[in-house]
Amino acid sequence: MRVSKRFVGPLFVLPALFVLAMLVFYPLVYTFVLSVTDPAGNYVGLENFRTMLDQRLTSRTLQNTFVYVGFSIVFQIILGTAVGILLNAKFWGRSGIRALIVVPWVIPGIVAATTWGWMFHTEFGIINYMAQSAGVIDAPVGWLTNPSTVMPALITVNVWKMFPFVAIMVLAGLQAIPEDLYEAARIDGAKLHHEIYFITLRHLRPVLASLTLLLAIWGLNAITIIYAMTRGGPANRSIILPIQIFRQAFEFFQFNQAAALSVMFLLITGVLMVIYVTVFAEKE
């Protein structure tokens, strides 16, 4: 039996869409239902939201989330772009180095977390030892236990893990820039920083915009590093929204309040996703 031509395309697409709908859209709808009901299933309006917003922890969480994601993105983009530009230059061993620097990004997040956790160890960590030998600090710093250093330490790990991805994307963007633009600029006597500013960064702008949004969405979602290194401590100084959702659900077993947090979380990421889809789906 031949299928009418009109339906061939949709038939190919349908199985994947069905699976995604079951796994993503059904749970999404269910999150909203859970967020406005109590454990017995009775409608309670915005009660769960009120309970969560009244907790002082929630405002601390939101603040931490923005600090963690914001600073991570800034350093990931700066470092990633610089490395992308560096790896686009011609030098001996270039393809080997390009492959090597991507390794932090492909390894499991948990491995990055435990390895850096050991390096940040207060008494026996290599970082305290090297910083003390170099005279940067006088006494060992409790990087992950001191409320004022825990965020910078976690951001460092996150940047180390993700900048290779930025670098590779930037590199792909750079390779699309015609070489004669640079040659023309050099013949006109342009300095290196002129080239980087007027040619390289101008052409990279769309790539960097798309990367910033992607990094924001992934950063909001990144539980592994913080969960494994500090579980949100000390004194909730490093708790971010996804970790609070996890704890509310699987440590305090308050699924409805966790769902209310999830809805707030979805609203934040939803804004980013709408921007991403409207800006970048046009080209598809």
Partner: protein, 276 residues
Amino acid sequence: MASRTRSTWPIYPAVALLVVITMFPFLWMLISSFKQLSELYTVPPTWIPVAPSWTNYLNVLFESNVPRYFLNSVIISAGSTAIALALAILASYGFARFKFRGRTAAVALIIVGQLLPTAAIIVPLYVVLNWLGLLNTYLGLILAYLILTLPLSVFMLISYFRGIPVELEEAAIVDGASRLGVLLRITLPLSMPGVVAVIVYAFVTTWNEFIFALCFALDSSTKTLPIGLAEFTTEFNTDWGAVMAASVVMTVPIAILFLAMQRLFVGGLTAGGTKG
């Protein structure tokens, strides 16, 4: 006169610094994994293990749950990759070759699936898996992992299929082949690099995944390697030697797989990424 190329700026020191930053944690992981506990807990730390020993590796491989977790990881990653691949091949072909009503909406839905923060749906997913009796089963994790792998796999393959000339397919269709036949016998064999990229991507993503496994795998019958690594760390005591050895054990296969495939993988990913 201005020169046409630039070679004056200090590339090599910058490259050396870059290699140190990216590789030092791995070096320290490797060094630490061969130290015994007494040597790990000494100040100042030693750069070369004084009494190198395989104790940590033997602990990890024979006295912990790691071998079982390894088996679980292989089954779950392979299962999820296979399903994602099959669904993604069909869907990408549909998107790459056909125009139909609702196509834009369908693409948008898949993008949402790709960007959706998994943390936002762990709670309802837990409830749904519990209801279906799939908590703490291989199938439950395999299905959950499709959320992570399916959307990007679709985008990677769309861009690959687009690069294959339609004329090849048209000739076969004139000869009476069905669309599915054309996909399986002509388009797919020509897309092998893209398919391999999808396999590597999906396998690595599921192999590394942490939070779903933490929530949906309840005991050693389904827990995966990343959970095993986290279990060496308890609130009061961490066996750092075992942790470092287990980290090496987890890093090496992924690093080898990636370095062997990196040209394909990076190529496929940047194609999917810039299109998506």
